[in-house]
């Protein structure tokens, strides 16, 4: 028995030693920085290593006094052009092999300290992963990505814009492809589909782990199961005079099976449809409905199905209401008015730090406009966002141009943390009815009390983003892009992909 106890004590000691060895902080040495640009180049050259070293130490890394004592050696450069700057760091191991590269940038010199802090945060995370080393207990007590308080008192925001700090803690908040645009493991990565599609919706995750995916083109709806590969379950061809404007899924009847809501026009009138996915395929539930449909998570809360109507002369008539199912069919409940330029497809609502609700709308020119709930415009972007090639035409009853074009708009997503995700399509000439987008990026913006400040954006992709969905529980963007435009003799091509963003 005594031997057994001795053996157990020996084993525990051994485990403790191994565990202690595993928990040893990584030893790093911060070598010099080269500095190009800026009025105080010499001072920066001297200070940057010190600034970075102290921040790495706070995050649990042991900073060595010379390179011979270090497992990893950090060197870097500082480049300034105008008031913008970039700090780039390179980490090498003892053999001189580059193990990690990272950078941070800022718009003004005032951002320098924050940029160094962000760089230290990113390096500490990536170094621990690269060298398989845990951080010291003292450091792990400080969560790496803990959101700082979002209270924006004037005294604080005047000195340190909190919006600069909060997103930066995210290790994927920069615009390097490797960091921000990652394909989540086990999901889609650049899956090419024949045809130029315009709508995307996700259904259930089935018992076998497959995910239901719906995509639409002008008058086709496709129902897929996505497991290890994408399997087409059914393709529904609509009438030749029907044109799909949007698709969404929502479990309105709470039976556990989200229905597919297809907003479409027949000629120039709404004739929307509802389909139910079954084992055999899609079964029609309702048709010829005079509603536009869209699932929106107002204020970043639970998504709900909203609708709006069309009138003889008004393309979007009345307020936006929650869709309910009655014995007679479908109705809109509790309609509410939108601010100027708003319609079902170009708006969302978020709450600021004080809980006040604000509408965000993409206007006809593509500018994001934030309005108070009383309709007062609080801010508008200087860049264009959104942009859709999906359109339909209606007849003008009076004289003048016989037809008018109505363009749809991209989804604006409000996350549970109050951030706003919005795509940005751009191209050579994208004004009016000539829409030919060929580049896209997705932006995450946060309201800092005065304006929508960028948190991150995805790498610019040379394609037209037709539709996207944000999956909050996975922090993923499910993106449908048109990579080859449809033309007279070819059907075009699209791409489905998943982008991990946080």
């Amino acid at each position: 028995m005594k031997n057994v106890v001795t053996l157990l004590l020996a084993l525990c000691s051994l485990l403790f030693i191994i565990a202690s060895a595993g928990a040893a902080p990584l030893n790093v040495y911060v070598a010099g920085f080269s500095v190009v640009g800026g009025e105080q180049a010499l001072k920066l050259k001297e200070m940057l290593p010190s600034l970075l070293a102290s921040r790495l130490a706070v995050r649990g890394l042991e900073v060595a006094e010379n390179s011979s004592q270090a497992t990893a050696i950090i060197s870097g450069s500082y480049f300034q052009s105008g008031s913008s700057f970039s700090i780039d760091a390179v980490v090498k191991d003892g053999s001189g092999k580059i193990r990690v590269r990272a950078f941070e940038q800022g718009v003004t010199e005032n951002d320098l300290l924050l940029a160094v802090t962000r760089l230290a945060a990113e390096l500490s995370v990536r170094l621990s992963a690269e060298f398989k080393t845990s951080l010291a207990p003292a450091a792990t007590a400080v969560p790496l990505a803990v959101p700082l308080p979002t209270v924006t008192t004037p005294a604080v925001t005047a000195v340190v814009p909190l919006s600069d700090i909060v997103p930066a803690a995210s290790p994927v908040a920069v615009v390097t492809p490797a960091d921000i645009v990652r394909s989540a493991s086990g999901t889609l990565s650049g899956l090419r589909l024949t045809g130029a599609y315009n709508g995307l919706a996700l259904g259930r995750t089935l018992p076998d782990g497959d995910r239901e995916i719906f995509i639409s083109s002008m008058n086709v709806i496709q129902y897929y199961h996505q497991g290890k590969e994408l399997r087409l379950v059914q393709e529904v061809k609509l009438r030749g005079d029907e044109r799909v404007l949007a698709i969404d899924t929502f479990d309105l009847d709470h039976d556990g099976v989200p229905e597919l809501y297809v907003t479409l026009v027949r000629g120039d009138q709404l004739a929307s449809q509802v389909w139910i996915p079954t084992e055999k395929g899609l079964e029609p539930q309702a048709s010829n409905l005079p509603y536009y449909f869209r699932v929106i998570a107002l204020d970043g809360r639970e998504p709900r199905l909203y609708g709006q109507q069309m009138a003889t002369d008004d393309d979007f008539y009345g307020g936006v209401g929650e869709v309910i199912k009655t014995a007679k069919g479908y109705e809109l409940r509790n309609p509410f008015s939108l601010p100027r330029f708003g319609n079902l497809y170009n708006f969302n609502r978020f709450a600021d730090a004080a809980g006040k609700k604000h509408f965000v709308v993409i206007n006809g020119d593509g500018y994001l406009i934030v309005s108070s709930d009383s309709g007062e415009e609080l801010w508008r972007s200087s860049d264009r966002f959104g942009g859709s090639e999906t359109s339909f035409q209606r007849e003008n009853r009076g004289a003048g141009e016989r037809l008018r074009w109505i363009f749809m708009e991209q989804r604006i997503t409000v996350t549970s943390s109050g951030n706003i995700i919005v795509p940005k399509n751009s191209g050579l000439f994208t004004v009016g009815i000539n829409r030919a987008y060929n580049k896209n990026s997705l932006f995450c913006l946060g309201w800092n009390g005065s304006l929508l400040d960028e948190k991150w954006h995805t790498k610019e992709i040379p394609s037209y983003l037709a539709d996207y969905l944000y999956i909050p529980e996975k922090k993923e963007l499910f993106v449908l892009e048109v990579v080859k435009k449809e033309s007279f003799l070819n059907a075009g091509a699209s791409m489905l992909s998943v982008k991990k963003v946080e």
Partner: protein, 459 residues
């Protein structure tokens, strides 16, 4: 205060609004436009615009034309509430002339190089920051609330519109002509038009509207320079008050609309005496979804005088036509019409070689009674329409000619090569009515027809 002075005060207030609407924002440019070219074969058209005579010599010869038109719209936008809108046009008939130093609709012959830029629109469009009223000041496109039966054209003026609840209200002033004839005093011998429009949406699918229009022409000439539909020669003074009602309602798949526009005017300077005018135009239209498209029908009646050929226009509905050019038919064409050769609607006013037998809704003062029926449809990228038009003069004239002008059948089928590039072919045939029988001494051996290929790009 005289009405003209009041108008000037209103214009000054609007200018003040415009000045205070200027925000400190960057100027943003927006460009739109269209390009269209068409190859035409027809025995009725003769390569120009306006009305066309029906005569045997003309109908005997099949002519072929190719014309083209480009429109370029530039909008300089200071903000959502303030923009300058301009639109220009270059058009001509292939082979018309070249190296021309000035003049519209030319420059398509060997060498090109003509000065042929036309200005369609130049106006300031802004929302008054005080009242929220939308103001447009300058040369702009405007149409009446009566499918353009009185006026639907480009004109210089000031328009105001404001939405209040379910109602939309508008008012405006246009100076259609000023000292048109030689020797007249600028600002004194004018042709002016004032309007008040109101529309109220009873529900999302039902709308009613009412209007008051006032038209005053100090030196009226209807159809100057045009050989056919000359209503009267110059020097007349025409003042007309108009009251109108219009409505539209959608019931399931069917949309009904219609209007009644009454005219009460004084026609001075006529021989033998001043005429008191009582006239009207009425319309009933319907559109119903059917199959892959919709059936459309329109009935139009404009009152006429039974002695218009002798200068009596007391019962003739009068529209605001161009009095300064041969492009007589650009105005006052009924948008509900679907015919190509008999009576042209907006959908078929396509280029600078458009001509029709009936060039204005009054049809030389005799009035019009017309029915239009058609079917528009689309299957994927293919679109088509098939139409029939039945057109008669409203009143028989002293010359004893029969009223019925003709029956037209036309059809078009096209394909969208891209969303905004369309290629189509169209054919139209008119069975002339008894009105034209023997009018130039012989029964017509040939019926008017047209065939054309149209390539159209919008952006």
């Amino acid at each position: 205060m005289k009405i003209k002075n009041k108008i000037m005060v209103a214009a000054a207030v609007s200018a003040l609004c415009a000045a205070s609407a200027v925000p400190a924002m960057a100027f943003e440019s927006e460009v739109h436009g269209m390009f269209q070219t068409q190859g035409i074969a027809s025995n009725l058209l003769n390569g120009t615009t306006g009305s066309v005579d029906v005569n045997q010599a003309n109908l005997h010869a099949t002519k072929t034309f190719v014309d083209q038109r480009v429109r370029l719209q530039y909008i300089g936008k200071a903000s959502d509430d303030l923009k300058l809108v301009t639109q220009f046009e270059i058009d001509g008939r292939w082979g018309d002339n070249s190296y021309s130093g000035g003049g519209r609709n030319n420059g398509m012959a060997l060498g090109g190089d003509s000065i042929n830029l036309e200005t369609k629109n130049v106006y300031l469009d802004f929302n008054c920051p005080i009242t929220g009223t939308n103001v447009k000041a300058g040369l702009q496109g405007w149409s009446d609330a009566y499918k353009g039966v009185f006026v639907g054209n480009d004109a210089a003026g000031l328009t105001l519109s404001k939405k209040l609840g379910s109602g939309t209200y508008g008012a405006g002033f246009f100076r259609l002509d000023d000292a048109r004839a030689a020797g007249q005093t600028v600002g004194k011998n004018t042709r002016d038009f004032l309007y008040l429009d109101g529309a109220y949406a009873i529900s999302k699918d039902t709308k009613v509207g009412a209007s008051y229009y006032y038209y005053n022409d100090d030196n009226s000439v209807m159809g100057a320079g045009v050989t056919n539909p000359v209503l009267w020669t110059s020097g007349k003074n025409v003042a007309i008050h108009m009251l109108g009602l219009n409505a539209s309602a959608t019931m399931g798949p069917v949309t009904l609309d219609g209007f009644f526009l009454y005219q009460n005017g004084m026609l001075r300077g006529f021989t033998p005496a001043t005429q008191h005018q009582n006239a009207f135009a009425a319309n009933l239209g319907a559109k119903a979804k059917a199959g892959v498209g919709s059936v459309k029908a329109n009935f139009l009646y404009t009152s006429g005088s039974n002695n218009a050929t002798n200068g009596n226009y007391g019962s003739s509905f009068i529209s605001a036509q161009n009095e300064t050019s041969n492009a007589y038919m650009e105005s006052g064409v009924f948008s509900g019409a679907n015919s190509v050769l008999l009576f042209r609607g907006n959908g078929y006013r396509t280029s600078n070689t458009d001509q029709t037998i009936v060039a204005d809704p009054s049809y030389k003062g005799a009035g019009i009674m017309a029915a239009f029926i058609g079917y528009d449809g689309a299957i994927n990228k293919t679109f088509f329409n098939l139409n029939a038009a039945f057109v008669s003069a409203a009143k028989e004239q002293a010359d004893g000619k029969a009223k019925y002008l003709g029956t037209e059948i036309n059809a078009e089928v096209g394909y969208k090569l891209y969303d905004n590039l369309k290629l189509s072919v169209q054919g139209a045939f008119v069975a002339l009515g008894s009105h034209f029988s023997g009018s130039d001494g012989a029964e017509y051996a040939n019926s008017p027809y047209l065939g054309r290929v149209i390539l159209s790009y919008n952006f």
